[in-house]
Symmetry: C2
Subunit: 155 residues, 2 copies
């Protein structure tokens, strides 16, 4: 059950349903179990990215790292763009809004561009359980105004 996922328009960009166990004292929210297909025996690092409301981070892509994002606090709008040369979904864009209300684990394959904007008040939390430890040599960035990616954030 917890290992089921749905595919998106971008090949390898997958959404896994995750349990939120409601409790008036504060919910318990699952992210990743070692037995899940989302884990795949591939643990590099867990870290958090707080996102101030209205702030946009990106564009970034990782050459090697696979990322696993959830948003347990606030609300974050993600945009993904596939320009991988050998990808079936080359040229495709996917938009996703994650929050505790739409609580999903997103797997981002290496080579896919991403950017995100915080829309929670006062801020939001992105948790990433990445397949590799941070290594600046495998990260590529582009400015938000780039022409390479057919998406413009509105202010």
């Amino acid at each position: 059950m917890s290992n089921e996922y749905i595919e998106t328009e971008i090949s390898g960009l997958l959404l896994f349903e995750r349990k939120v166990i409601a409790d008036e004292r504060g919910a318990v929210m699952h992210m990743l179990k070692s037995s899940s297909r989302a884990f795949d025996n591939d643990f590099g690092e867990v870290y958090f990215s707080r996102v101030t409301r209205g702030v946009i981070k990106g564009w970034k892509k990782h050459l090697e790292m696979r990322q696993r994002f959830v948003v347990p606090v606030g609300e974050v709008q993600f945009v993904f763009f596939d320009d991988r040369v050998h990808s079936e979904s080359r040229g495709r864009l996917v938009e996703l809004k994650l929050s505790p209300e739409f609580y999903r684990l997103v797997i981002v394959p290496n080579g896919v561009w991403y950017s995100f904007k915080g829309s929670g008040t006062p801020d939001s939390l992105v948790v990433n359980c990445a397949s590799l430890e941070h290594d600046p040599l495998e990260v590529v960035t582009l400015p938000l105004g780039t022409d390479v990616i057919p998406y413009k954030w509105l202010d």
Copy 2:
């Protein structure tokens, strides 16, 4: 550096400093890298516990699971109690207040009782990167008013 820890009054209950990389757009906060001594090649599950302000959760202890807690949002007061028969620190109590301002990874060895109270507004987030997947058979609980643990929460 990131693998250094300090010991507490309870044997095996360890505090690791963790980086917070300040950024006006929202900080990046480290939790756990696979190369850290805190990881120890031991991944079971990552999950979140939201804690409404004023709520107290506990007492619990895990017979097998080692837990790794951080608090990236809000503020949470923890109390730990050691009644392990063969422990050098048997009978000891440790209190800790974790938050983004006092940002530490706490390792809780199996067999140590714990309870925690949310003091962040409106709620706080505890992240646990546990050594095992959740298994109700290895969890023991006691009511908050128990006489077994020499600690009383004030309302």
